[in-house]
């Protein structure tokens, strides 16, 4: 009995050791994604983008002659969990770069921790202007809301709406986009008649909707994470609010979990999922996953991985400090599937293309 146990233990140990050795050869980078929680659909899409990028890199020979591997941790849609995940990636896996998260309210504390530890951070999904202030070592592959809100406000104004009611989550993202939208919309002559930042994680938003309804707007401008947006859209439908036009900021995020019948007819804006060079990526995605893009964000995750691989190759090592310098250099001009990625002086994406969209059984360009 004892010898059997000893043998089993030895076998397990050998297995673990060999797995460890095999993995030790790989070049690893990290990612913190919302695989569960309200943005789970987006997290899955981001994961797919990363998967495609890893396949592509390894098919072309890997990085520094070794295989590339992304260690993906779940943030659970909560900052403390994301921080724990970042801690593990930085101290146990010792990766030089971590990508993530999606929600600005989670990206900011996570990135602050990472850059303090010397690990470089790549923002692949958050857009709050506060991301700019994270500091040295944090780079953004996606554009921020000072530009997107202006785009949205212009679009809404051009559609002849003048009295907007605004609803967004009460976190760094929602606060940022609410401020910027109001600023731009009112500068053009419109009026934000009601603005509510809802507390995330509730099971109903009925009362918030009833409160903004009282302001009698001619358009509801909203932005919300997938599962919460589904609740908001459904309750707006139940309250009859969808008789008034609804405008979504980042429409694929807002409609990814909402039944088509309810979301049909909404208009909005979105980051452009792919740039001019992105067609092959789009096809590869459809081929592998059997559907069109789940959201607009997989391409940014893809570009994040490619950027990291390029930086590591340029640095010639996986040492965090060298990779950080290399990232800045590679980001001077990088051809990604989402278009040309160029970092401005604050390491944020300088030019971000947006699309006007509408929803008809899917997000379509307008």
């Amino acid at each position: 009995m004892k010898t059997l146990a000893m043998k089993a233990l030895a076998a397990a140990g050998l297995l673990a050791a060999s797995a460890g050795i095999a993995h030790a050869q790989d070049v690893t980078i990290g990612a913190v994604l919302p695989l569960t929680g309200p943005s789970a659909s987006i997290g899955e899409d981001q994961r797919r983008g990363m998967e495609l990028a890893v396949e592509r890199v390894n098919a072309a020979g890997g990085v520094l002659g070794r295989k590339l591997r992304v260690i993906i941790e779940d943030s659970g849609g909560r900052a403390p969990t994301a921080l724990d995940a970042a801690k593990k990636l930085a101290t146990v896996d010792k990766v030089p770069v971590v990508m993530g998260e999606y929600s600005s309210g989670i990206t900011i504390p996570t990135a602050q921790y990472l850059v303090k530890e010397g690990v470089s951070h790549l923002n692949i999904g958050s857009s709050s202007p506060r991301v700019r202030g994270i500091g040295e070592g944090s780079f953004s592959v996606i554009g921020l809301d000072d530009v997107s809100a202006k785009f949205a406000a212009t679009d809404v104004f051009e559609q002849k709406f003048r009295k907007a009611a605004f609803i967004a989550p009460n976190n760094a993202y929602g606060q940022g986009v609410a401020e910027e939208f109001k600023k731009n919309f009112e500068a053009m002559g419109g009026q934000v008649v009601a603005s509510i930042l809802y507390t995330a994680g509730q099971s109903t938003y009925r009362r918030e909707l009833q409160q903004i309804e009282r302001a009698a707007p001619d358009v509801y401008v909203y932005s919300a994470y997938g599962q919460e947006a589904a609740i908001i859209n459904r309750e707006a439908f139940d309250l009859g609010l969808n008789k008034t036009q609804w405008y979504a900021i980042y429409q694929t995020m807002c409609t990814t979990d909402t039944p088509a019948q309810i979301a049909n007819g909404q208009i909005g804006m979105e980051v452009s999922a792919v740039g001019p060079a992105g067609k092959p990526y789009e096809e590869a995605y459809s081929k592998k996953y059997g559907e069109k893009f789940k959201s607009a964000y997989s391409g940014y995750a893809y570009d994040g991985v490619m950027l990291s691989a390029a930086a590591i190759a340029k640095a010639g090592s996986t040492e965090a400090a060298k990779v950080r310098t290399a990232l800045a250099e590679v980001g001077r001009k990088f051809d990604g599937v989402t278009g040309e990625v160029v970092f401005d002086k604050d390491r944020q994406r300088a030019v971000q293309p947006y699309l006007r969209t509408r929803y008809q059984n899917g997000v379509l360009p307008r």
């Binding site: 695989l35 569960t36 779940d74 900052a79 403390p80 801690k87 593990k88 101290t91 009460n170 976190n171």
Partner: protein, 294 residues
């Protein structure tokens, strides 16, 4: 990897501190406080707010301890004659109200965003040494707290609390003011919990309303019940045990290749089953309270 071990032990030590603090109320005095986590949250937020307003961290600590003491006093005076389980629900309600305030008052607490970037303790040292220094600090404070709590428990105050727990009528007839005793126990417990909360705030460098969810108090209670309600060493053991299960989950997840939902479920289920098993078969916990035999 070793860094992660230090991390796990640091967090366990902080939770052990919370467990020791709750033990004073729940173990000695038998007070069913289900809102205990509010004290921890108050301590953490005080540190965060002090950082936000750029005050000296010491001021944050002092504020937190004072605020927790006031909250504890208030809780203990709630419905002086409420039965144990009713009082428990009342404390739960108070903790929820505190959490709702923290969630809504952006200007003070950062709202749902919380306050991030709180300067860690020992920030003047480099990252590696800072980790060791923090661990040493927490363990030292934990040891102090355990010693203090044991002395308290063995002394007159502790005996009075136990009498309050077992024979309240007798205690009253002997001249003890039950409500005052309750208050003293709750306030002492609250202040210690606030210290733990302050440590937590500094350690994670982030304070958010999620700290004060009701589920967190339940976690602390699990640590107490499993370890041994009333025995200081027991509750610390309980804390480390539960924390070990919590910390090993991410690794088990990688090893078994299960999704996050299942991992979360397994973790929660394990703790729940452990607690239930303890209640059914080892009611006094792994390390039962030792009462002095006459």
């Amino acid at each position: 990897m070793f860094d992660f071990f230090i991390h796990a032990v640091s967090v366990a030590a902080i939770y052990a501190l919370v467990a020791v603090s709750l033990n004073i109320q729940a173990g000695y005095a038998g007070l069913l406080n289900l809102g205990h986590i509010a004290f921890v949250g108050v301590g953490a937020y005080a540190v965060g707010i002090a950082h936000h307003l750029q005050w000296h961290p010491g001021l944050g600590w002092a504020m937190g301890i004072a605020a927790a003491a006031v909250l504890g006093f208030f809780m203990s005076r709630l419905g002086r004659n409420l039965g144990a389980d009713y009082w428990g629900i009342a404390t739960l309600a108070v903790a929820e109200i505190v959490r709702t305030i923290a969630l809504n008052e952006d200007w003070l607490t950062g709202g749902a965003q919380g306050i991030s970037g709180v300067t860690p303790l020992w920030s003047s040292l480099d990252a590696g040494s800072a980790r060791w220094a923090f661990l040493a600090t927490v363990l030292l404070v934990l040891a102090l707290a355990m010693g203090l709590s044991s002395r308290l428990g063995a002394g007159r105050f502790g005996r009075a609390l136990r009498l309050l727990r077992e024979e309240p009528a007798l205690a009253t007839s002997m001249g003890y003011d039950l409500v005052a005793l309750k208050s003293k126990a709750t306030v002492a417990s609250a202040m210690l919990a606030a210290v733990a909360g302050a440590f937590l705030g500094h350690y994670i460098s982030y304070v958010g309303p999620d700290f004060m969810l009701a589920s967190e108090t339940f976690l602390i209670w699990t640590m107490l019940m499993i370890g041994g309600l009333g025995h200081v060493g027991g509750v610390v053991l309980g804390a480390f045990l539960v924390q070990a299960i919590y910390a090993s989950m991410p690794f088990a997840k990688d090893w078994l290749g299960i999704g996050s939902d299942v991992a979360g479920a397994v973790r929660l289920g394990l703790i729940g089953c452990l607690l239930l098993a303890c209640l059914l078969w080892r009611k006094d916990g792994l390390v039962p309270e030792t009462l002095r035999k006459l």
